[in-house]
Amino acid sequence: MKITPNIVAEHGLTNEEYQLVLEIMGREPSMTELGIFSVMWSEHCSYKSSRVHLKKLPTKAPWVICGPGENAGVIDIGDGQAAIFKMESHNHPSFIEPYQGAATGVGGIMRDVFTMGARPIANVNALRFGEPNDPKTRHLIAGVVAGIGGYGNCMGVPTVAGEVNFHASYNGNILVNAMTVGLAPADKIFYSAAAGVGNPVIYVGAKTGRDGIHGATMASAEFNEDSEEKRPTVQVGDPFTEKLLLEACLELMATDAIVAIQDMGAAGLTSSSVEMSSKGGLGIELDLDKVPVRETGMTAYEIMLSESQERMLMILKPQAMDKARAIFEKWELDFAEIGRLTDTGHLVLKKNGRVEADMPVAPLVEKSPVYERPWVPTKPQAELAANSVPAPKDLLAALKQLVGSPDLSSRRWVWEQYDHLVMGHTAQRPGGDAAVVRLPDMNGKALAITSDCTPRYCYADPKRGGAQAVAETWRNLTAVGAKPLAITDNMNFGNPQRPEIMGQFVGCIEGMAEACKALDYPVISGNVSLYNETNGKGILPTPVIGGVGVLADAAKSVPVAFRQAGEVILLVGETKGHLGQSIYVRELHGKEEGAPPPVDLSAEKRNGDFVRAQIGAGMVTACHDCADGGLLVAVAEMAMAGNLGASLSNPGNSIPAHAFWFGEDQARYVLALPAGNADKVLSAAKSAGVPALKLGETGGAGLSVAGAGTISVADLKSAHEAFFPNLMKAG
């Protein structure tokens, strides 16, 4: 078939990129070869717009075993164990087909983690939807939540944490970011670099069908009115097969049969075979007639570009073939030897005795285009003075409105659809600052896991927003008592060919890098999702951060819930009353304005280290960081979680009351502790140079604020719990 400019354009390649293809090939490529270039050089697989900037992120620390570039990142958590984790987006498919899009997103990220030898122990998801009253929103929420639950629940991996935000900018481009955390012996991590000329290439798992062809290319383009026509590019998930694949792989990994292993995710057999051979510096020859297929008559092009789920590619030691085959037969999965490693450095594909592709692997990977796209810095917003924002008539009525608002209301409706208890190790459940999951047979040692991003901050000031997203995960891990270790990032942005979008990307990376360095908190894996635009309108810049920390003893973690009446409530961290980009200004005054709160990273570190030490010393019974909605929302959440009221005194400073209570200053925590511990903690704070003040005490059925009256906790709770069920049952 003659390759016309039209065919090139349909494959998402520019003319310059195609010229590079011709140069590498030294001839016109076959259709199969063109398809392979197309997916390998798609934004999704090649990171061509983002790569130069991602390099600015710190990725190293003594505890990092494997940073970005593998299926997932790996950190040492002590006692011979490693935590393996990554977050990945499935935004485009989830908008087109929410159930399957979200389900296969969860399936894909779990595969990335167990490919490396880890048993997944926790799932997390970060979701962004359009306005609640947008006609598509309810349908999308229902499908996405059911899809995440459908896959994770069946796999028997608890879904323990996550976030949901609403904003008009996501009306045409929702975000579905899924993260998996797994656990493996630190000395038994599996990598993808092929080795050993002549070693067999083994295909295992589900059969290959025509689903998902060109999914990676779709994920690398903007949406328009015709996006619904892209439904056939969405894959269909089968969590049962994945569960079998998980058990079979872990069983095989307990032997020494595997040389290298890679899951077939985006760009399926193409990216797995190319990445494995390129990392190993070898060639690979595949006989496509041996690939297990679901339907007859599939072409080489279709087999190579299919994104059918629940498949893996492995290089095995030849002598281990029989043992490996027996394990996959036990689990009733396909096991097919489809090729061999060669010393040619070429990817050679044969079908029906014909050579369908013969292309050099190294240039396909190394010469993939890299763009330093033009960018313009985001114009800074003016600081919003607290006294220019009107005070509410009734502070507590404003509080009730806030805790019942779309972004601050309870997410119970969502997480009750996720099995968050399977495996029996969930020590802090969804709804708190971070989930805590105990590790089996490790004397109570546990991981804390969270995901965070405040996109409106990133839009107003990408650098502050990027730093804030990293700092907030660090704070959330700290608030349960964990020591934060590392992050994964999921960079969701608009069209990188627009300089203002690239400017957002560059700004966010800069802020993230600063925060990671200051907090000793490297990036070990990640994913970039660009072109989140419909008809030329981009989403808010959304660099979602997934953070993981470690606790020596899960039993020492603290919840957000007030537990005991008569305890002292302390505020740690400095309050200036920063109302710019606050939820208060948005919900009560309908405006998204001002600069977001500044992020003082040394204050973050000082305050967080102090809080963690107090929790570790057993001084604290409940802790919550101050984030969206500010201080009073944080206290209200602690009261609602514990069904226990509190009375708060007047701070006695010059900050307007509404700015004090609803300002979103960073680096702050609310602590509850037995009265006898209060003086000790306050004096420890003083000597550590950490601002801390006594805010009030727990007790009663109401939340009282000096000078503003009392509101019953039950009343707050009914507003807090009402939003989601009402939205989802609305006609």
Binding site: G149, M155, E416, Q417, Y418, D419, H420, G424, A554
Partner: protein, 229 residues
Amino acid sequence: MKAAIVVFPGSNRERDAEAALTQVMGKKPIMVWHRDTELPDVDLVLVPGGFSYGDYLRCGAIAAHSPILREVKARSEKGMAVIGICNGFQIITEAGLLPGVLLRNASLKFVCRNVGLKVETSQSLFTSRYEQGQVLSIPVAHHDGNYFADERTLDELEANGQVAFRYCGPNGEMGNGANPNGSARNIAGIFNRTKNVLGMMPHPENAIETLQGSTDGKALFQSMVEALS
């Protein structure tokens, strides 16, 4: 007591059940693979939660026809104790060890949360360590836990004392959203006629330690150990 856990492809709470049994028995139960045709010599068989064979047909329907389930059924008819939890309840009900059927939740959604559970009788090998009327807090995690049977069967279950647990509020009340799935008469667990078989949707194996938020499930395992040792 010697115990075995039957593992199907797609089972996913077999390790949770193993941990609970190990903690209470002081030794590990035997894990039996679905293709095995014979059961080891045990006093109790536990059929765990999960999605056996993917549950793409009616939940538990395929597992109910597996060779190992035929063996479980035959042994239960001779008096061996069997407990089916969640998917295990669906499987043993599909296999005819218990009457009725588990339908899709009335909400049509998966539900995972702690529920109140009222102990209907302490007169069984599974519940002897509880008080009749005691209210427990135990988690549920299922999509198809809506127990249904015709009125006559339900009346018979009640008359024979075969209702083991009912969903309830924190003070034992039956209304006001206490029923998480629409089960007939709030039924959460039932015995067979001879009370050597128990099926229940909630997960006592996830309520063993303080860290899990409730230890109310432990007495169920202790009751079995006491009765079968």
